[in-house]
């Protein structure tokens, strides 16, 4: 059975069709990126999946049941949602104690998840004084409280500094390695590209693509950006090997149709000095923009 199943899911807010006949499935033990520009309907979809918003039509189930009918939901599903908040006067630890009490969980879990999310030292401080990144960590701590099989994370990287994003990536990878199912939303493909097995892409409330990352980028050219004091020499070497090369500013080459290894071999063979070389992920971003109409944020 699918860990998460969304069938014909539709939500209308007045005149606005936020989610339109959405279909997708998430298999147990996979990490799926739920992508789309801001305003595409990601948050509304996740909130319907979690029983916080009632669908206009269609169904959203977790392990075959609507969220509201799950026995002990905190032990099965953990969620981090954007608009979920904390009482500013309550300490992080007390916030988690309240949730653990309501869910009937072992109180020891509170200190375990504080430790796991790096908040152990801040546990007794009031949340009012927390930075955005610490709040995001506390949200994750709450999601992990019931040791759930399924995790639903809505833009978890928002507000995290680079170190926090790095930590989050590691956490999601750990959760995936433990065999958990993770559905993680983002409006930036690159943010999740390193961690997800599959992507579900939506735009204007409709499904645009569900596939593996590899299949998504299969058609796209790979490019390598190179900086060298001998751009002409390297260009000739690479063109001779069948690559497409364009000069992009002084000493800069953008090379298509080759890997970084092939560029390195060509440079070594021709005695060309390289100052910098990197594989460009922008093509993945291009595919994403193309699929979602390329307009980015909409009001």
């Amino acid at each position: 059975m699918a860990a998460i199943s969304v069938q014909g899911l539709t939500k209308r807010f007045g005149d606005v069709l936020a989610v339109d006949q959405l279909h997708f499935q998430v298999d147990p033990g996979t990490v799926v990126g739920f992508l789309g520009p801001n305003g595409a309907g990601k948050t509304t979809t996740l909130r319907m999946l979690l029983g916080l918003v009632t669908p206009t039509a269609g169904t959203a189930t977790i392990a075959g049941r609507p969220y509201r009918e799950l026995p002990d939901p905190a032990r099965r599903v953990g969620a981090v949602l954007e608009a979920s908040g904390f009482h500013p006067g309550r300490s992080a630890r007390d916030h988690l104690r309240v949730l653990a009490t309501a869910a009937g969980l072992d109180p020891r879990r509170v200190d375990e998840v504080l430790e796991q999310t790096g908040l152990a030292a801040a546990g007794r401080r009031r949340v009012g004084g927390f930075s955005l990144g610490m709040r995001q960590r506390l949200g994750l701590a709450a999601a992990l409280l019931g040791d759930p099989e399924v995790l639903i994370l809505d833009e978890p990287a928002n507000g995290l500094d680079p170190e926090g994003v790095h930590w989050l990536r590691g956490l999601v990878r750990d959760l995936a390695d433990q065999g958990r199912t993770v559905l993680v939303s983002s409006h930036i493909l690159a943010e999740v590209a390193q961690t997800v097995d599959q992507v579900v892409i939506i735009d204007r409330g409709r499904l645009v693509a569900q596939s593996t990352l590899a299949a998504l980028t299969a058609g796209a050219d790979r490019t390598v950006r190179v900086r060298t004091p001998q751009p002409e020499a390297l260009r000739d070497l690479l063109v001779a090997r069948g690559a497409s090369v364009t000069l992009d500013g002084p000493g800069q080459l953008v090379v298509g149709g080759v890997t970084t290894e092939q560029v390195g071999q060509a440079a070594a063979a021709g005695g060309v000095v390289l100052h910098e070389m990197r594989f460009e992920r922008s093509n993945l971003e291009d595919v994403f923009l193309e699929l979602t109409g390329g307009k980015g944020e909409r009001p």
Binding site: L52, T54, R68, P73, A79, H87, R90, D94, T101, A102
Partner: protein, 249 residues
């Protein structure tokens, strides 16, 4: 259900709001009781006689009912104000159970507040009155009825606060509406507009007065209590249904 009530009581204990309200209610109670005792017998003030305890136990009614009402409102509306409703309803997706637990926690807190206040009144009032040579007895059915009635009233004010906040969701709006109603302004205007002075005792605040300030103009205590409880439950039910249905975006 027990664990949900426990969680709600824990919520109340883990912020300063409840503690500040309780402290204010306690301070208000102490000040009012002291004032009544000090001023008793002076010109224009009632004489303390054999029924002095009956008067004294209802002295804290105003600060207690106000604190309970605000406590109920903040407990429910705070979930929406601070966005904790999301995590609360993720743990307990059947939202009616959350509202029910809040009602139970609010009522229990109200009862406890009133009983502590009554105990304080006895602790201060009894020795004071005896020292003044006024003979009083605690073995008095009317006195007991007032202690119980006050506790029920304070619990119901907290229940009403939860219901009001569930209906309005906005904390500021709920506090303003709650205060206007508590100060008897809303019902007074309604009665004046309708030219029906007899109506007041049947309205929620008027019915509550049967418990907090029983007199000739109010319903009998038991009837006032029942009417007030009916209003409280109706409001809580309507608020609970609305909370259960609305999208939490």
């Amino acid at each position: 259900m027990t664990r949900l009530v426990k969680a709600e009581l824990l919520k109340l204990r883990t912020t300063r709001t409840a503690r500040i309200l309780l402290a204010l209610a306690a301070a208000g109670t102490a000040a009012l009781v002291a004032l009544v005792l000090l001023l008793a017998g002076r010109p224009g003030q009632p004489e303390l006689g054999a029924d002095a305890l009956r008067q004294l136990v209802l002295v804290p009614a105003q600060p207690l009912t106000l604190a309970a009402l605000v406590l109920g409102i903040l407990g429910m509306a705070g979930e929406f104000r601070y966005g904790t409703a999301t995590s609360t309803f993720l743990v307990t997706p059947v939202r009616g159970r959350v509202v029910a637990a809040k009602l139970a926690a609010a009522a229990a807190t109200g009862l406890a507040m009133a009983l502590v206040a009554s105990a304080a009144v006895f602790a201060v009032g009894l020795p004071w009155l005896r020292a003044k040579g006024i003979e009083v007895t605690v073995a008095d059915a009317g006195l007991l009825a007032r202690v119980v009635g006050l506790a029920v009233a304070v619990a119901l004010f907290a229940v009403l606060g939860v219901g009001l906040a569930a209906l309005l969701r906005n904390q500021v709006a709920a506090v303003i509406v709650g205060l206007l109603w508590w100060s008897q302004g809303v019902e007074g205007i309604l009665v004046a507009l309708l030219h029906q002075p007899g109506l007041e005792r049947w309205l929620p605040r008027g019915a509550a007065s049967a418990l907090t300030a029983p007199g000739d103009a109010t319903l009998p205590m038991w009837a006032g209590g029942l009417v007030f409880a009916a209003y409280g439950l109706a409001l809580a039910l309507a608020g609970g249904r609305l909370v259960a249905r609305r999208d939490l975006t």
